[in-house]
């Protein structure tokens, strides 16, 4: 595999729901080490295409290649087993459980030896240490205890834990769905820094967002989705935010494919 093999490549993806075509022969490409923002008007199908990539919906036509190899995900768990992590808008955390419990939900570590094998005991010290290390790496150890319930955290801290969880387990790439939508200015800033930190570790990110300033701040390329397909991919350095919005809404003709 050469360095410029796209991490994800979608070709001619189609998804229909009855008479509605949510994805209409759309292409998709995420390259190594980049932050790709996906923008589009409401109902343009940007979340549909991302769902198709992570196995949450199964496309009717087209193919998806991960690092050049064709995949057929049937659930997000398949994608996760390949090292694809998703940070959901609603965060997917159990508020009453601790940070450590949440980070390892669904992939707990068991103790070795008799206690782990026959008593199925969890290796709490190992999980707590791992969680603490990961949060510290991302500068998130402002939380008082790794054992505190997620519901006692602020919105930004929760988002931080969700990002840390994704970064800790992602070996291929991370999908983030509107990570700053519910946050205040300061907390958004912190999360944007986190996103850049994660990219600096070499993990590519697909960022779905409505927030143009945030998109233009962190994205390397912007995938503009319109009417169920990729309209164009632009380099944020070559266009302004109003250009992007104009492409999104159809007010302006898109540039030729492949400009970025």
């Amino acid at each position: 595999m050469s360095d410029n093999t796209p991490v994800v490549q979608g070709r001619g993806i189609v998804k229909r729901y009855g008479h509605v075509t949510a994805i209409d022969h759309s292409d998709f490409e995420l390259r190594q080490g980049e932050i790709l923002a996906v923008i589009g008007d409401n109902g343009a199908g940007k979340s549909s295409i991302v769902k198709a990539i992570c196995g949450a919906t199964i496309p009717d036509e087209g193919e998806i290649l991960i690092e050049g190899k064709k995949v057929n995900f049937t659930s997000p768990i398949d994608a996760r087993n390949m090292g694809i992590e998703i940070v959901y808008q609603q965060l997917a955390m159990s508020p009453a459980l601790s940070i450590a419990d949440n980070m390892f939900m669904g992939r707990e570590i068991r103790r070795s030896g008799f206690m782990g094998k026959y008593m199925r005991q969890l290796d709490r010290p190992a999980m707590e240490k791992f969680a603490r290390d990961k949060l510290t790496e991302l500068g998130l150890m402002t939380v008082q205890s790794i054992n505190q319930a997620v519901e006692t955290l602020s919105g930004g801290q929760r988002q931080g834990v969700a990002v840390a969880r994704a970064a800790a387990f992602a070996s291929k790439f991370i999908i983030m769905d509107e990570p700053t939508a519910a946050l205040g200015v300061k907390e958004s800033r912190k999360v944007l820094e986190l996103i850049q930190d994660v990219r600096a570790r070499g993990i590519p990110i697909i960022l779905i967002s409505h927030n143009m300033p945030h998109v233009f701040e962190v994205a390397d390329r912007i995938h503009v989705h319109r009417l169920g397909k990729r309209l164009c991919t632009i380099d944020p350095k070559d266009y302004t935010m109003s250009d992007a919005v104009a492409f999104m809404t159809g007010a302006k003709e898109p540039p030729k494919e492949g400009t970025a």
């Binding site: 997000p76 768990i77 996760r80 998703i86 959901y88 609603q90 965060l91 997917a92 955390m93 159990s94 508020p95 009453a96 459980l97 419990d101 949440n102 939900m105 669904g106 992939r107 707990e108 068991r110 008593m119 199925r120 005991q121 969890l122 709490r124 500068g139 150890m141 402002t142 939380v143 008082q144 205890s145 319930a149 519901e151 006692t152 955290l153 602020s154 930004g156 801290q157 300061k186 907390e187 800033r189 912190k190």
Partner: protein, 356 residues
């Protein structure tokens, strides 16, 4: 509320804070906030205090009459069935469900154990296994309806309660198997009633079973992945699913285990009352919910500990016996239990505000 988290305000700069933050926090929290925090972390603390307080009051009022090994034995004897059923109920309520069919499953299982032995002449141990199997199977149907058909647990188990109870009466022809017959022909059915004594207090296998069951479930819920999944499913099933928890499998296993535990309660019931009676244990569902709620397990799921249910059941037992020894009208017990239920739910709501 009392949690204006200062770190969240300074999210960006507070990167390298140390434990000092926590100290600063707790001193600011004040007594009420601190109490709220403790209860948030240890939800079974309230019932434990109530239990110890109630015992203290009865000891002061009744003296050695209440503190005697005899009285303690009696409380445990009376609590064992409710305690076992409450363990099953706790599991279901932790997943934000409710199981109204627990009492019916218990009675039906005991009837199967009795009738299989006496009507068909099947060896008692085999009949017991059949009874346990039927309990788990009914639980599986409940679980499937809740998890796959997505019906509300209240409705599913309300229906199942009636179905199982009616089946119980139809199958048993409302016939009781007498204690003497069981003792003579199939003493294995009364196994849970076997007595042994330690220091003047006599225990039964049923009481020991209840205590061991609660201890095992407590361990499993706290220290295994399955236990964490039960809490996660009760807390927010969608989030659990997205985090990779198999919600269907977790719910199925919880309802099946609940059915199985109820069947064990049915076996223990034979040991307790000696006979097999299709009309016994009618109040087990309400009594188990009462124990669970007083025990501080949230009816909204995901919160509480199973130890609390044991304390809840013991509180009811202590009140019942204490007031009886005082010569009070039995209605006072119900009145106090009613007050406790409402207080317990109010406390649960208050504890939840930590998250707000």
């Amino acid at each position: 509320m009392s949690e204006p988290n200062p770190t969240s305000q300074e999210f960006e700069t507070a990167v390298n804070r140390t434990e000092k933050v926590a100290e600063f926090e707790s001193s600011r929290r004040g007594f009420v906030g601190g109490l709220q925090h403790i209860l948030h972390v240890n939800p079974s603390f309230v019932p434990l205090i109530v239990l110890l307080g109630a015992m203290l009051i009865f000891v002061l009022l009744l003296g050695s009459k209440f503190l005697s090994p005899f009285a303690m034995t009696l409380i445990l004897q009376q609590v064992q069935i409710v305690g076992i059923v409450a363990a099953a109920q706790s599991l279901v309520i932790l997943t934000a469900g409710i199981d109204l069919s627990v009492g019916a499953i218990m009675v039906f299982s005991s009837v199967i154990m009795g009738q299989f032995t006496f009507r068909y002449g099947i060896p008692a141990p085999v009949s017991v296994v059949c009874g346990l199997g039927v309990g788990a199977a009914i639980g599986a149907v409940n679980g499937w309806l809740v998890s796959r058909v997505k019906l509300p647990p209240f409705i599913v188990t309300l229906g199942m309660w009636q179905i199982v109870l009616a089946t119980n009466f139809l199958y048993s022809a409302n016939e009781t198997i007498r204690s003497q017959d069981i003792e003579a022909n199939a003493p294995f059915l009364q196994f849970f009633g076997t007595k042994f004594s330690i220091g003047g207090a006599s225990f039964t296998i049923g009481v020991v079973f209840m205590l061991v069951l609660i201890a095992v479930l407590s361990y499993v819920l706290r220290h295994t992945a399955w236990g964490r999944h039960v809490y996660a499913v009760g807390d927010d099933p969608e989030a659990a699913e997205l985090s990779g928890v198999n919600v269907h499998k977790t719910l199925m296993s919880v309802y099946m285990l609940s059915g199985l535990i109820c069947a064990f309660a049915g076996w223990a019931l034979i040991g307790r009352i000696g006979s097999v009676s299709p009309t016994s244990g009618q109040l087990a569902n309400i009594e188990s919910i009462t124990a669970v709620v007083i025990g501080g397990i949230s009816l909204f799921g995901g919160r509480g500990s199973i130890m609390g249910s044991l304390f809840g059941a013991l509180i009811v037992g202590v009140f019942t016996l204490g007031l009886r020894l005082l010569g009070a009208d039995a209605q006072w017990t119900f009145l106090l239990i009613g007050l406790l239920i409402i207080t317990a739910v109010a406390v649960d709501q208050w504890i939840r505000k930590v998250s707000g």
